[in-house]
Symmetry: C2
Subunit: 121 residues, 2 copies
């Protein structure tokens, strides 16, 4: 969860991981979908394979976790959050896992996530 | 800073950003060099361009921040931390910035960091 002044942790090309965590996620209609729990990073390459959006639950219990392709997240300063082009109906049927453990990320899992949301922003 | 059970936020290929943050960094001699403050992620590609290691200071004041290439960080379970192949003499002369703001990350900055530490692990 970001406890820094966000403007210091962002440049034109980079954003800090701890600024991303805890940031709310809205859809294009302005509905809040959840917030970013964390980023899952490929240990070898350093590539962010997906962002985990959490929704629901209380104090971390009963949350649903939605893996979202990084490219879906667009930070919008005016909203103080990310805006994604995903409506609630789409999210209702989206791949999710409840709490822990995280699924094994392999080529098939990656293809499933990308296939569901598509490659676009 | 990680407030989860780490084992739930790691798979064979992925590691969670909030597990990385706050994790101590040791050199090969077992000396603690600092801890990971955060990861700086390319907004467009999702690539982790570098990890920021913080050292010194008190409650965030007076800390030095060292950008480290992601590939330098190797998580060692037995140490409960990252081990990097950087000795203290090397770190003494390493590129750093004190607190905020973060430097502008561009090709020249990237080349400077990679040049200093090299591409190896």
């Amino acid at each position: 969860m970001a406890d820094h002044e966000p403007e210091y942790f962002e440049t034109s090309s980079l954003i800090a991981s701890d600024m991303v965590e805890g940031t709310p996620v809205f859809n294009r209609d302005g509905e809040k979908l959840g917030k970013v729990l964390n980023l899952m990073v490929n240990k070898h390459s350093g590539q962010v394979e997906y962002a985990v959006m959490s929704f629901g639950g209380f104090l971390g219990i009963g949350e649903d976790h939605y893996p979202l392709p990084w490219k879906k997240l667009k930070y919008v300063v005016a909203r103080h959050g990310f805006v994604v082009d995903i409506d609630k109906a789409k999210l209702d049927k989206a791949p999710k896992h409840e709490g822990n453990p995280v699924p094994i990320f392999d080529a098939a899992y990656s293809a499933m996530i990308t296939g569901y949301y598509g490659n676009g922003r």
